[in-house]
């Protein structure tokens, strides 16, 4: 994952094979042809620390193809053309740091090369410390900032997409600053571990990010050693130096209680001793919609309405006279075009770092702003970061990292403006004849809708913003006690405060009411804090230069706290007041039961880890951890679990020298248990829903009401996942090709499951420990340097491929399925359980006469009469698959799931001299997505489908619908009956895609030209993020611009209103939310 090539050669340099020398020799011979006439000879010797000559060192005149290699004693001789006698010589050799030395007319240049610490002893952050890469026993992916920063995005997960095997990242929103869902090795739990008393535990935002996201299987994020529970958008990607993704149990076990979903360790940039470095990284550009959703244009809409009127029923919504006039005049308003805009995006980070032997520091300030495609929607972030590392005495070190963020998210109109735009009549006039905005453009029944142009013209009356202040601090102190033994204290304090503001003035897109007394205002304040205290005892010794022993002991405790207050008002007398003063409002209320809250949770942990490695050949890790959590039932709060792993550096075995092609080979295997307590505080206590009621009309009759919603559980305990992992790291051809392959299996038991109970038992849900799930998967990543010429052309490829197969192994007490919760043994954790659409009833279809219930008409959706659950879902049971001519809920069946067949990512980089080009492509294949807006729903709480789809009440996505003269099997006949039978079956679509994630073209401006300005390096680049979709059936079939999700839930319930949801609410869906965007950027990386 590192730049250019991954040289993970762990051998000593002296082991450099003869093969390598041969290649270099050939190169030298070839290169000698380039010797030019006017030239001088430079000679010299290249040595290592001990003044021993290094053979085979590559020497090139920078920016040319001219070069040579050292001989067996380390001597070299190179003809340098005169015009190059002020150029740089580049000395490079595997295992040593590359050096650039200015010739300055000299003829003898001796060079002492330093061992490249990174190469030889590349360190990987493993949690509570670091380890040499060669000693690593677990499945860990390291991603460097260079890779991440190819993609300009608000948060690091967005940047990570497609770059790490086993890490599945899906968008859950397209609004600026919106959330991203990440899964490491798939799902382990069947549902969101929230029983509906949702205080957002893992997020501070109440409105639009992880709070509404499904965080049950979300990995733990650890920033500079301290668990981070905040909003990911609060961390500037520019401040991140690297990310380590711990995937298997042996790696994550040290984080035990929260490691079950994997762990992502984020290391931020710190200072180095030496010269003070200034750097500036920035880009500017703009963001624009990838593509509008395709709706009916004016003439098509007219036809759609006519066809709806000709269909069954009498509830038609005829065209209005004004629409007729506009049709005749050729008007076809494209509402999406009128609203969507390109908006600027920019990021600037200025940093200073430096230090001396004792103190190192870094300082940075950042500014990020991304505009949305909806007017006035944007996300702005200001960050200030400071790190200090100080050696107090020879035995004591202290350090601090403080990360401070203020972010603003403005989302006037919310994330679903698109849905509203799509429904507006294209035959309505956006503007009056005098040029003013037509305030109520929609004729007919929906005439109360206010023009979306008020998002622009009345922006002062629409407020929907949140401002978050976060300060995330980690302090450490380290004391060396005796040789090899040190004590370290980590103290983390994370504090955030968020303010959500809302105002909807009358006669605006967000408030159709026309009276000022109906204006709506609210404000919410949320405060979250968390402190973490970790006491670590770390012992590291090497005995006899063979036995390296490491021990880490931990005692830590953590407390988290959240509190919120909410006030809302109706009837603010003046728009300008917005939500700043509630007193003048006509009525003030405090929202619902969950709008104001306080929660706290605590965690106490003990952990011990022992590592041992022998002769750089074998290494082993053993971990034991014990956690106590406040959210579980008393008596079950503590849980202990082990993990073991071992690795064998096969490459360091003597017999490997006979296989010179192979330059790295390491086998790893591990087993371990991780656990989860990811439920809301107080879940074990049961919960009453709160409401309020007024007996009669007077205030004396006003009472608070409670109803039972969740039953208590007095024996709730830890959920645990046992996982084993086997991995092979390899390098071939001088590590020109490197990679890793991993196979894993994991079994999760005692899942903390909020289950839907038969409500006749007195409550609708509770949380239990039940069920088992299992998953296994394969991950492959390969990095190769395909071409590397002495002329400076390098072409390298990073490729990853992975899949995860998850299934439910058991449910409660011998159940083989639980339809109400959507769980089926043997199936993936989330499936679609609904009727199976087999087409559209065609005229003269003989089945029309046979189907007794419901009686259907030509043009309606035809589903399979199959009687699955009547036969207990057992396909060979009596009655299964036997039509009874009645379509009932027994005919529902599993018709798809959301598990990709595989994910893959590929990045190609080409560098030529000072130019570099990279293209990233990634794919998710073989899963379904839910597209609620092509289905329909009546009376649904979410209105995610078009409520009046097919009755022509409003405009909608252009689809191929049935008419007597167009006997399609795609979409039913528009009618005026309302919701078609089995409308939900329309919403399941193949979600596979191959997308280009970004294209970057960069150029290193020669430093010679800049040297006088004090600039040491200057890189400029142009970049496109989300340039195009390469292949996606979703896009091909015009469902929308992007099959990636943009929201949660909203799946249509099957069979009209009130039906059981066919899709679990945790699924990311593609809805008529703000469509995906594309960014064009120009950027600069400057060092001075």
């Amino acid at each position: 994952m590192e730049k250019i090539s991954l040289r993970t050669d762990t051998r000593l340099p002296s082991r450099a094979g003869s093969f390598r020398r041969m290649i270099l020799l050939v190169c030298t011979i070839l290169l000698s042809h380039y010797a030019l006439f006017a030239q001088s000879t430079i000679k010299g010797k290249v040595t290592d620390d001990s003044n021993t000559g290094i053979p085979g060192v590559n020497i090139v005149i920078k920016g040319t193809a001219l070069g040579t290699t050292t001989d067996a004693e380390g001597n070299y001789s190179l003809e340098v053309p005169n015009e190059n006698n002020q150029s740089l010589l580049v000395f490079s050799f595997i295992g040593f740091s590359t050096q650039e030395i200015s010739i300055q007319g000299r003829t003898i240049i001796d060079v002492k090369m330093a061992v490249d610490a990174k190469e030889l002893s590349e360190v990987v952050v493993v949690g509570y410390g670091t380890q040499l890469k060669r000693d690593i026993t677990g499945a860990i992916v390291k991603v460097n900032s260079e890779v991440l920063q190819q993609t300009a995005a608000a948060n690091v997960f967005d940047q990570l997409k497609g770059h790490a095997a086993g890490v599945d990242i899906i968008s859950a929103s397209s609004v600026p600053g919106g959330p991203t869902q990440i899964r490491i090795r798939g799902n382990r739990t069947m549902t969101q571990n929230s029983a509906g008393n949702a205080n957002s535990v893992t997020s501070t935002s109440a409105s639009n990010d992880a709070a509404t996201a499904d965080n049950a299987d979300q990995p733990l994020l650890v920033v500079d050693g301290i668990p981070y529970n905040g909003n990911l958008n609060d961390i500037s990607p520019s401040d991140i130096a690297s990310m380590e993704i711990l995937k298997d149990a042996s790696a994550t076990a040290i984080y035990g209680s929260r490691g079950a979903g994997g762990v992502i360790l984020v290391t931020t940039k710190r200072g180095n001793s030496g010269k003070t470095l200034f750097s500036y990284d920035g880009y500017v550009g703009f963001s624009s919609v990838m593509k509008e959703l395709r709706v009916f244009n004016g003439a098509e809409y007219y036809q759609f309405k006519q066809d709806a009127g000709n269909g069954l029923g009498t509830g038609t919504y005829p065209i209005a006279q004004s629409e007729q006039d506009n049709l005749n005049a050729g008007v076809s308003t494209d509402w999406q075009k009128l609203i969507y805009q390109s908006s600027p995006m920019q990021n600037h980070t200025l940093s200073v770092s430096g230090g001396n032997d004792k103190s190192k520091y870094s300082l940075s300030g950042g500014y990020f702003k991304q505009g949305g495609i909806i007017p006035n929607q944007n996300f702005t972030r200001y960050t200030i970061r400071n790190t200090m590392d100080h050696q107090v005495t020879s035995r004591i070190r202290v350090g601090l990292n403080t990360l401070n963020t203020v972010s603003y998210q403005n989302l006037p109109g919310g994330s679903g403006v698109t849905s509203g735009l799509m429904q507006l009549s294209p035959l309505a006039s956006a503007y009056n004849s005098d040029g003013t905005v037509n305030l109520q453009p929609q004729p007919g029944l929906d005439a109360s809708k206010i023009s979306p142009l008020t998002l622009k013209t009345k922006s002062g009356s629409i407020l929907n913003s949140s401002r978050r202040l976060r300060t995330f601090n980690s302090f450490y102190g380290e004391v060396d006690i005796i040789k090899g033994l040190k004590y370290r204290a980590n103290i983390g304090l994370d504090y955030s405060q968020q303010k959500d503001d809302y105002y909807a003035g009358p006669a605006t897109w967000t408030n159709n009411a026309l009276s000022q007394s109906s204006s709506q205002a609210s404000t919410r304040n949320t405060e979250n804090w968390q402190y973490t205290v970790e006491n670590l005892l770390i012992y590291d010794r090497t005995f006899n230069q063979k036995h390296k022993i490491g021990f880490t002991g931990l005692y830590s405790f953590q407390k988290s706290h959240g509190q919120a207050n909410y006030v809302a008002a109706i009837g603010v007398p003046f728009d300008y007041m917005q939500n700043t003063n509630f007193y003048p409002a006509q009525s003030v209320n405090v929202g619902g039961n969950n709008d104001s809250y306080l929660w706290e949770r605590g965690l106490i942990s003990y952990m011990a880890r022992l590592t041992y490695s022998f002769e750089n050949r074998f290494s082993a890790t053993a971990t034991w951890r014990r956690d106590g959590s406040s959210v579980l039932s008393v008596g079950n709060q503590y849980y202990s679990y082990p993990a073991f792993a071992a690795a064998w550096n096969i490459i360091n075995e003597k017999f490997m020298s006979s296989l010179p092609l192979i330059t790295n080979l390491k086998l790893r295997a591990g087993w371990g248990i991780t656990a989860s307590q990811n439920i809301d505080p107080y879940s074990t206590l049961g919960l009453l829903g709160t409401s309020a009621y007024n007996f009669g009309q007077g205030t004396t009759g006003q009472q608070v009401g409670t109803t039972l919603s969740n039953l208590p559980n007095h024996s709730l305990k830890w959920q645990n996942t046992a996982q084993w992992n086997i991995g092979l790291d390899f390098g071939i051809l001088e590590n020109r090709i490197t990679g890793a392959i991993e196979y894993y299996q994991q079994k999760t038991s005692d899942i903390l499951l909020p289950i839907n109970l038969p409500i006749s038992n007195g409550a609708s849900s509770t949380i239990i420990n039940a069920g088992k799930t299992e998953s296994r998967g394969l991950e492959l990543s390969i990095n190769s340097v395909n071409v590397k010429t002495e002329s400076g052309l390098t072409w390298s490829t990073e490729f990853n491929y992975f899949f995860n197969r998850e299934k439910i192994v058991a449910l409660t007490s011998g159940q083989s399925y639980d339809i109400a919760n959507g769980w089926f043994v043997g199936q993936p954790l989330s499936v679609i359980y609904d009727y199976k659409k087999i087409g559209i009833w065609q005229t003269n279809d003989s089945g029309l006469g046979t189907q007794a219930s419901p009686t259907q008409q030509p043009g309606q959706i035809k589903v399979l009469d199959w009687n699955t659950s009547g036969a207990g879902l057992v396909s060979n049971a009596a009655g299964y698959g036997v039509p009874d001519n009645k379509i009932t809920p027994d005919d529902r069946m599993i018709i798809g799931n959301f598990q990709p067949k595989f994910d893959a990512g590929m990045t190609n980089r080409v560098t030529f001299k000072r130019f570099d080009l990279s293209i990233s492509v990634y794919a998710r294949m073989g899963m379904k997505v839910v597209v609620p807006y092509v289905a329909s729903e009546a009376g649904g709480a979410n209105y995610t489908g078009y409520n009046f789809f097919n009755s022509g009440r409003s405009n909608q996505l252009k689809v191929d619908y049935w008419t007597p003269t167009n006997p399609t099997n795609a979409f039913p006949q528009p009618t005026s009956v309302g919701v078609p039978y089995f409308g939900s079956t329309l919403s399941y679509v193949d979600g596979s895609f191959i997308k280009c994630r970004n294209i970057n073209l960069g150029y290193d401006i020669p430093t010679a030209a800049l040297g006088k300005a004090g600039i040491t390096s200057l890189h400029v680049y142009a970049s496109v993020v989300n340039p195009f979709v390469i292949w996606a059936p979703f896009v091909r079939d015009h469902y929308g611009p992007d099959p990636e999700g943009n929201g949660y839930g909203g799946a249509i319930s099957s069979y009209g209103s009130g039906g059981q949801n066919a899709v679990a609410g945790r699924q990311v869906t593609v809805n008529a939310n703000n469509p995906a965007t594309r960014q064009f950027l120009f950027g600069v990386n400057l060092k001075f």
Binding site: G313, L688, V704, G705, Y1055
Partner: protein
């Protein structure tokens, strides 16, 4: 170096401090939450009761409930906006999914079980308060079980506080359910005060309400089990309530219409209501009425309000069954209304939100139930049939045109101009739904030009029908706001009809006629003066028929005389017709037909859309599919027969 030592020792001290164990960290203290343990406290019991009332509000008066209770009967047909209520209106394809969520009241029943089991031992409650609380819980549990058992038949019965989750459940014998209901109500009658008292004000449960419910429960059980003792009990309970009406604060208004005046919502004729409020905390009021569907808002008034008001044009004409704006547009929209260039009517606050889910079955109403509209005033007091012009001319900037809306209609001044001349707002009629076939309709009254549109009974179709005005809420702010009037669940006149039905079933036609005549004679009363020729329409009040004059040739005395029936005239069908006349649109009809086992016969006779599919199986609604799906342990929950 001194500094370093200080720092060093500080670190060591810190390390020691940080190592202190913090077992308090694992203690949970749900400060901002209310847990089930609260049912053992006085305020917990009170809030539990209020919570149950709130859930009743989440059903009665809402869109789904209102539609469910009247569709698929003789009274109602599918409206133009029926949407997926089409299934209920036609019985075509009803499954358990249609009623998912229908068992929601069991969480309330569990709360009541908790109150009834923990309440008596709760500390800090005086005897009177405890009695009132227990009485409320008993009434409510009976009320909910009665609704559930009538609707679904084979339902689970739980009378103890369930605190341990279970995924198994099954139906109980309906007789056992009824036994609990009867016993609860008997206890409630003892425990509750005669009339509502604080804090259960308004028309919350009181002994009077419990007696009404008990009489109805007996009557219903009598039909189910054909037990004459239950008919007797029903009759006696109803009679007792009528005889002692003053004790319970009940009586009939002289004028049928008074029962529906917003001012009288909590007055003598109202037995039991579900309250609403325009205080967003105590109700579910949201300005602009963005909510519908599952929200606990009262939208009953507009389920049967058609889209006419925003669709009909000044020059609308009618062909055989449909209205169109002009003959040329027949070509492009033969199916329904087309807006003319100028609208005489706009949706406004007065009219509200046209859901159009249901419409009156005008054939049944005019030829059967309300056949005598001269002597029985209830048709005129139930339906709005005249709409006055409230839309302005296109040139009027304060008004609207082309389907646009204003907050308030224009109640005076010039409206649009039609080919028949200028329409005066608040004076001229925009639309009239006569209860007879008018020659010359829709544009002429006989040979005289009619400025608006006349839609005769034969011309009514799903988008054009009279409006059931009894529950209208004129006090709202925005045209789409929900009603904040209480949903009246029971009126005192029902007690008379319960008594009449019970008497009939006991073979006591004399007393049956006696109680029917009380209601029928009241219906003869009109508040207006004597007949005024041509004086029905027109005034400054918008779109309502003004006054309540006696028709030509009718006086109060003559009407009373005609309305009075003889014992021989009483039949079950007569009582069912009477219940239509008295309770049209009051969310009772489906249960009335089911109780009297007349569903199939009456639907077959009067409702051509529902008759092809209706069977006796549909006298029970299907067990909600989510209950069937969620019972995943033990025996599968059986679906009712026929679904």
């Amino acid at each position: 170096m001194k500094n370093k030592k200080i720092i060093s020792s500080a670190l060591w001290i810190a390390a020691l401090l940080l190592s202190n164990s913090c077992t308090d960290l694992l203690k949970e203290n749900p400060q901002s939450k209310i847990t089930p343990a609260s049912f053992a406290t006085p305020s917990g019991i009170l809030s539990g009761i209020a919570g149950v009332y709130n859930d009743i509000r989440g059903t009665w008066g809402t869109e789904g409930f209102t539609v469910q209770q009247v569709t698929g009967t003789d009274e109602c047909l599918e409206g133009g906006g029926a949407s997926n209520y089409h299934i209920l209106c036609t019985y075509n394809g009803i499954t358990g999914s249609t009623f998912s969520g229908g068992f929601g009241f069991y969480s309330d029943i569990n709360v009541l079980n908790g109150i009834l089991s923990l309440g008596p031992s709760t500390q800090g409650l005086d005897a009177t308060t405890l009695k009132a609380y227990l009485g409320q819980a008993q009434f409510l549990r009976a009320f909910l079980y009665f609704y559930l058992v009538q609707t679904y038949g084979n339902i689970p019965l739980h009378t103890t506080f369930i605190t341990t989750p279970s995924q198994a459940d099954g139906p109980a014998d309906p007789k056992a359910v009824y036994a609990v209901i009867v016993s609860d109500l008997k206890n409630a009658i003892v425990n509750l005060p005669a009339k509502p008292t604080a804090p259960f004000l308004g028309k919350a449960a009181a002994a009077g309400a419990a007696k009404w419910l008990l009489s109805k429960v007996y009557l219903t059980r009598a039909w189910l089990t054909t037990t004459s003792a239950d008919y007797d009990s029903a009759y006696n309970a109803a009679k007792d309530l009528i005889d002692n009406k003053a004790t319970y604060g009940f009586d009939l208004w002289q004028d049928y219409a008074s029962a529906f005046s917003p001012a009288n919502d909590y007055d003598k004729e109202t037995i039991f209501v579900s309250d609403h409020s325009n205080d967003p905390k105590y109700g579910y009021y949201t300005p602009g009425g963005g909510q519908a569907g599952g929200a606990a808002i009262n939208v009953t008034p507009w389920m049967g309000l058609n889209n006419l008001i925003s669709n009909v044009g000044v020059d609308s004409k009618i062909d055989a069954t449909k209205i169109v704006s002009d003959p040329t547009s027949l070509a492009f929209n033969p199916a329904g209304f087309v807006s003319g260039g100028q609208l005489p009517l706009m949706r406004d606050v007065q009219f509200g939100r046209p859901f159009g889910r249901i419409r009156p079955n005008i054939n049944y109403l005019l030829t059967q139930a309300f056949a005598d509209r001269k002597n029985d005033s209830r048709y005129d007091k139930t339906f709005q049939t005249v709409w006055l012009v409230n839309g302005g001319p296109p040139s009027d900037p304060t008004s609207t045109r082309g389907g646009q809306q204003a907050v308030t209609g224009k109640y005076s001044g010039d409206g649009p101009t039609s080919s028949r001349g200028l329409l005066k707002c608040g004076v001229d009629t925009a639309i009239w739904f006569p209860d007879y076939e008018v020659v010359g309709a829709p544009q002429k009254f006989g040979t005289r030009d009619f400025k608006g549109v006349i839609v005769t009974p034969s011309m009514q179709f799903p988008n054009a029908y009279p409006y059931m005005k009894k529950q209208a809420d004129p006090s709202r702010v925005n045209q789409n706001d929900p009603s904040t009037r209480p949903v009246v669940i029971a009126r005192f006149s029902e007690v008379y009809l319960i008594a009449a039905e019970a008497a009939l079933m006991r073979g006591d036609n004399v007393n049956s006629a006696l109680y029917l005549n009380v209601i029928r004679q009241r219906a003869a009363y009109r508040s207006g003066a004597a007949y005024v020729a041509g004086g029905v329409f027109g005034s400054t009040t918008p779109a309502t028929m003004v006054g309540d004059p006696y028709p030509n040739g009718v006086t109060y005395a003559s009407a009373v005389s005609v309305q009075t029936i003889t014992p021989a005239q009483v039949t079950l069908d007569f009582i069912l017709d009477e219940r239509t006349r008295e309770f049209y649109g009051e969310s009772l009809r489906w249960q009335d037909l089911v109780r009297t086992q007349k569903l199939v016969a009456r639907v077959t006779a009067w409702n051509p859309a529902a008759s092809p599919k209706v069977t006796t199986d549909f006298m029970l609604r299907p067990i909600p599919q989510d209950e069937i799906d969620r019972v995943s342990v033990g025996p599968k929950y059986p679906q009712n027969h026929g679904y």
